[in-house]
């Protein structure tokens, strides 16, 4: 094996090196500044490498580097990069009313290690790598969820996530053992052949059942979603952002990796199951979100509903589904992060709740407008990014003739509209006392403008996301 053969593996190796370097540099750096800069520069470089670097596919035993995996990795990298920027004020004294986070080096290191797990997950060529990737993508979040110092809610979030995560890992592992028992192989190609040969094997279905249970937890798919509100609420906001975008993308990628390739043969039989889970998730998420006052909890429920929409894509045909999923994740990520940055801004002086948004239209009109854009995008109003994401998901399901399901999804989108509008309303209600105007830092202004423009541009001219989705589909 020559060195050149390793070039496709470069992003993964660089990520590992970056994680180690960040952990190491933290030991020398007094204020954590070096770690922050190293992390974002490294991640930006990694994103460039993934987007414009080597395009050749490669197979290292059970580690497959494909075009689709590169797209997923790019997605994870961008989501993590946004998380890193988002977390910036949370580590500054007085940057957030809830309290200041400490140990930024370990925080960034854990994020990067988590990303490593996601990378492994989408490159997995057998069930062991798959499982390890899933585990590595989850385990650092146990610690991150409990990162708020001396905060009971954060500790609760961490311990709850540990318990639920452990439980779901056990289910996943159990499911994998069944799959192994049924097919006699761990590698995806052999698995695919075995599943195609005997798609009705009861042990296989037992395995699928447990796997769905395990992945459903990670995905926060109803009825396995109940941990999400508590964990999202308790975790620090950047961690919640990471959970709801990167981690969710990883879970979706896991689902796509398994059910769109090795288990593709049984997917038609699973369609009713996915359909029912989609409906349950949409209903549970939308109904839950309606009553929330805490923004993080609100995000949790709304992301459960988003999972419901995304499950629609599992009913469609392979390439189109993957494209729709990636597209939707991109738009959801952009919208979500715009909202989280707004939460970060209002969190500086008050709690990150609905009432904290009150008077935003006076304190910073631009921010209020961005909030309206976010909510409209989440609700799927054109010309914002969220609309096209939903449109593609719905058309993927409609193309397979699931009109009833599309009807339910669309009805849910209308219901969701109601609570997204509640958020908008809060922002335009005058506060009891005149609140001080908000001042933004240059970094915040830059990021917020970028995300706001992306919201509009992705909705009007979907070419960038389209390119990603297409690459993932092939």
């Amino acid at each position: 094996m020559t060195l050149a053969e390793f070039t496709p593996l470069l992003p993964d190796l660089l990520l590992l090196a970056l994680a180690l370097a960040v952990l190491k540099i933290d030991l020398w750096s007094e204020d954590g500044e070096a770690g922050f800069h190293l992390t974002w520069i490294g991640l930006a470089g990694l994103a460039l490498l993934l987007a414009f670097g080597s395009r050749s596919d490669a197979v290292f035993a059970d580690y497959h580097i494909t075009a689709a995996s590169r797209v997923w990795k790019l997605l994870f990298t961008l989501a993590t990069l946004a998380t890193v920027f988002l977390s910036r004020p949370y580590f500054r004294a007085g940057g957030n009313a809830r309290g200041t986070l400490a140990k930024s080096g370990a925080f960034f290191g854990l994020l990067l290690l988590c990303m490593q797990g996601m990378f492994a997950l989408v490159s997995a060529g057998n069930l062991i790598v798959f499982y390890l990737g899933l585990e590595l993508a989850t385990m650092p979040i146990y610690a991150l969820a409990a990162y708020q110092p001396r905060d009971a809610d954060s500790a609760e979030a961490g311990s709850k996530y540990v318990l639920m995560g452990g439980f779901s890992s056990a289910l996943t592992l159990f499911g994998i053992s069944f799959l192994y028992g049924a097919t006699g192989s761990l590698g995806f190609p052999a698995l695919e052949a075995a599943v195609r040969a005997a798609p009705a094997d009861p042990a296989l279905w037992g395995g699928i059942f447990f796997l769905l249970g395990g992945l459903g937890f990670k995905l926060a798919m109803a009825p396995l979603h109940m941990w999400a509100p508590d964990v999202y609420q308790g975790a620090p906001t950047p961690v919640m952002a990471f959970l709801s975008v990167a981690s969710k993308a990883a879970a979706v990628a896991a689902l796509a990796t398994l059910f769109l390739s090795p288990l593709n043969a049984v997917r038609p039989d699973l369609a009713p199951c996915f359909a029912a889970a989609a409906v349950l998730s949409m209903v549970a998420g939308n109904l839950g979100a309606m009553r929330q006052k805490d923004l993080r909890r609100f995000v949790a429920y709304s992301s459960v509903a988003q999972v419901g929409y995304m499950l629609l894509a599992m009913l469609g045909e392979g390439d189109g589904s993957r494209a729709a999923l990636v597209y939707n994740l991109v738009t959801y990520g952009v919208t979500g992060f715009a909202l989280y940055f707004i939460m970060g801004v209002i969190g500086k002086e008050g709690p990150e709740t609905m009432s904290g948004l009150r008077g935003l239209s006076r304190r910073h009109p631009g921010l209020a407008v961005l909030l309206v854009l976010c909510m409209f995008s989440l609700a799927g109003v054109p010309p914002l990014a969220g609309f096209l994401g939903k449109f593609m998901l719905f058309s993927a399901a409609a193309a397979e003739g699931h009109y009833l399901l599309v009807g339910i999804a669309v009805a849910n989108a209308v219901v969701s509209f109601y609570y997204y509008m509640l958020v908008v309303k809060e922002a335009y209600i005058a506060p009891p006392g005149e609140a001080a105007a908000i001042r933004l830092r240059p970094l915040q202004i830059m990021v917020l403008w970028g995300l706001g423009l992306a919201l509009l541009v992705l909705g009007v001219c979907p070419a960038p996301a389209d390119w990603l989705a297409r690459a993932a589909g092939n």
Partner: protein, 220 residues
């Protein structure tokens, strides 16, 4: 029923009994000891299945490592003679329901798989009868040898084998360690971040307790 079968069933009965004790024991220390017994029985089960490596790992990791930690933790945090409060009837009922469903599901699965496996075995026998039997038995011998330590080690470090999962595990352990240390040092050393007491009080009041999380969401 030969001696081996009899031993197997006895072992299973012991394992199940200990498992029930783990859940039902009123005293935490006893529950931990029962769990230790469960793990030990599992190791013996592995031995019965000729998976020596798995049995070894089970003893070393779970009994030698994890259970000792659990026992320490129990000893450090709870009174030795204290009894835990009995769970509420609703919870018991829920637990029984979950257990029953799980049992039913797995039993049904075992029954169906058993039938399927028997058919597969018959098919395999038929196939091996037609082919030359010597080669297949040699394969079977090789299959048994997989569990030996030497093969295992070679497989783990073979780039075409399990090198990548093996390395991933080391990253996983690193992540676990970093995470554990970061969180553990957070509580005592909240000094560096040091949030103002006033802000903390606001946030705690606003967030409220854990159990009633949802009722907080209700409009005032």
């Amino acid at each position: 029923m030969n001696v081996r079968d009899a031993f197997f069933y006895a072992l299973c009965a012991l394992l199940l009994g200990l498992a029930v004790l783990t859940v039902a024991a009123g005293n935490l220390f006893r529950a931990a000891l029962a769990l230790l017994g469960v793990l030990l029985c599992t190791a013996v089960l592995f031995l019965l299945l000729q998976a020596e490596m798995a049995a070894l790992a089970q003893v070393m990791v779970y009994i030698g490592g994890i259970m000792i930690f659990v026992l320490y933790a129990v000893l450090l945090t709870s009174e030795l003679g204290g009894r835990m409060p009995a769970p509420s009837p609703v919870k018991m009922l829920l637990g029984v329901a979950v257990a029953a469903v799980a049992l039913g599901f797995l039993a049904g699965l075992a029954q169906k798989t058993g039938a399927g496996a028997a058919a597969a075995r018959a098919r395999m026998h038929a196939e091996s009868a037609t082919k030359e039997s010597a080669a297949s038995s040699a394969d079977a011998e090789a299959g048994v040898n997989i569990a030996s330590l030497k093969t295992l080690g070679q497989k783990l470090l073979d780039p075409k084998g399990f090198l990548i999962p093996f390395e991933l595990i080391s990253v996983l352990l690193l992540a676990a360690m970093v995470g554990a240390i970061a969180v553990a040092r957070q509580g005592g050393a909240g000094v560096r971040g040091g949030s103002e007491p006033g802000a903390a009080a606001i946030s705690v009041k606003d967030q409220g307790g854990a159990g009633a999380a949802e009722s907080r969401g209700a409009p005032p």
